[in-house]
């Protein structure tokens, strides 16, 4: 049922809710165009995010490890290596380029690309290349529909793949064949890409409207208490 708006009680939580509501309104005012209030709110947002994330990294990642090192330096000595490299990373970030100061960045690049490449091969490339067809949700389909869908998916996937082919300009005999195949099949692929984009765009609208809804619910239900029960 609807009631008259009433502000929350002046407890710590109540004041917090009011503060949150004011900040929400300040940000949402940008929907009608960037203005002073929204710029101020964004500035606060940036600073608050940096401060929050940095303190969490300190308390949850660095502090426990420092404590471990202090309590039992003989067993936890490897941490010293990482702390030293971490300081070197900061030094590199301050602009001091040298053989040693580039090591932490090189380390991060090495770990990152290795994990990413391995994961892409085992986690994405392999399973998506060998999907058992007809896949998901096909249990209820009649045989002809399964066959048709299987064919459509195969054509679409390969079309999208070929759409992105890079070396299509070669003049050799094989090269011309490859280029022609990629170009023509790629046109079909582009159509599939557009259909996929249309789907994703529509779901994006639904999703972001959902985010907006939860914000307005906060304003009306949690703050103004217009809706009860």
């Amino acid at each position: 049922m609807l009631t008259w708006p009433t502000l929350p009680p002046p407890t710590v939580e109540g004041i917090g809710v009011t503060v949150a509501a004011v900040l929400t309104l300040a940000v949402l005012s940008a929907a009608l165009g960037s203005n002073r209030v929204s710029r101020l709110a964004f500035a606060v947002l940036v600073g608050a995010a940096v401060g929050y994330a940095t303190t969490l990294a300190w308390w949850l990642v660095l502090w426990p490890r420092i404590m471990r090192l202090v309590r039992d330096p003989l067993r936890e000595w490897p941490l010293l290596v990482w702390f030293a490299l971490g300081l070197l990373l900061v030094v590199r970030g301050l602009g001091a380029a040298s053989a040693v100061s580039s090591v932490p960045l090189a380390f991060l690049v090495g770990v990152g690309v290795a994990l990413a490449a391995a994961g892409a091969a085992l986690g994405t490339g392999l399973p998506l290349a060998l999907v058992p067809w007809p896949g998901y949700g096909a249990a209820v389909q009649p045989a002809w529909a399964k066959a048709l869908n299987t064919l459509i998916v195969a054509i679409g996937t390969t079309g999208v793949l070929l759409r992105f082919a890079y070396t299509t300009g070669s003049q050799s005999r094989l090269g011309r064949l490859w280029g022609g195949l990629a170009r023509n099949w790629g046109r079909i692929g582009y159509l599939f890409i557009l259909i996929g984009f249309g789907t994703l765009f529509a779901t994006a609208i639904i999703s972001l409207v959902g985010v907006l809804v939860s914000r307005l619910q906060f304003l009306l239900v949690d703050w103004l208490l217009v809706v009860r029960g």
Partner: protein, 260 residues
């Protein structure tokens, strides 16, 4: 010898792991071979990327007007799952860093992960040194905005409104938050805006907001598009595997049809 045998006996791998590892090694061998061929015989002919051409063109305009060029490196860092996207963005940054240092075009980079900040600083510094103008590098060229996606997006959008660059290139890892900087870019009609990311659920948004979007894997071809001849070898290798995968998929579908 015994140690080796011990290692061998204590080592195990799953079938899928073996397949993926073998594929990865074959891919690596192919990349190496084709890169060597590219360096000996000459680079492979690679199709141009519209976004790269846009950036080249607007670089010329910036040389005239002295407007800055802006690169939004996204919410990805180095070491995390989006390392490849970040490196792709850094290849664009290094191109701009070289040219910008020579032509006195200020290049601004904004990013959300401090690990990427270190990479960007390294690239900008190298660009300034290689071109012989070490003074062209400023410590504040690469700016860390915030490690939280929406805060990063809002901060970058505000920066684009305050200091409208000649071009805004959003290359890296992005989620839906990319809409905010892209919208800020659209509000300046003169600004050329390109973007690219690998996340399919973000691509339609970039597709809607930018003039020359790099779709999916195209971001990884930026290095070659900016004249890194040694990257064309790996692009050719990608095409070889692309053909193999496509052939396999078609074959599998036909087999499934025959069985059904």
């Amino acid at each position: 010898m015994d140690l080796l045998r011990l290692l061998w006996e204590t080592t195990s791998i799953t079938p899928e792991g073996l397949t993926a590892l073998a594929g990865l090694l074959a891919f690596a061998a192919l990349i190496l071979a084709l890169t060597l061929r590219a360096s000996r015989v000459g680079p492979f002919a690679v199709r141009p990327l519209a976004a790269a051409e846009r950036v080249r063109g607007v670089l010329g305009r910036a040389m005239e007007t002295g407007e800055p060029l802006h690169v939004a490196l996204g919410i990805g860092g180095i070491g995390d799952v989006s390392t490849a996207d970040t490196l792709a963005g850094l290849s664009l940054v290094s191109f701009l860093a070289d040219r910008g240092a020579l032509a006195e075009v200020p290049v601004r980079v904004r990013l959300a992960q401090p690990t990427a900040l270190v990479g960007a600083i390294a690239v900008l510094q190298r660009g300034a040194e290689v071109t012989g103008y070490p003074e062209a590098y400023e410590p504040t060229q690469a700016a860390f905005v915030a490690p939280v996606p929406l805060a990063y997006a809002a901060g970058t959008a505000e920066a684009l409104r305050l200091e409208p660059p000649a071009a805004n290139a959003m290359v890296g890892a992005f989620g839906a938050e990319v809409l905010l900087p892209a919208q800020a870019g659209r509000e300046q009609p003169q600004m050329v805006q390109v973007g690219g990311t690998s996340d399919p659920s973000t691509l339609p948004l970039l597709f809607a907001m930018t003039e020359a979007p790099l779709l999916g894997e195209e971001v990884y071809a930026l290095g070659a598009a900016f004249g890194r001849a040694d990257h064309t070898g790996s692009l050719a290798a990608q095409d070889v595997f692309r053909a193999l995968v496509a052939f396999g998929i078609v074959l599998g579908a036909v087999l499934a049809l025959v069985i059904a």
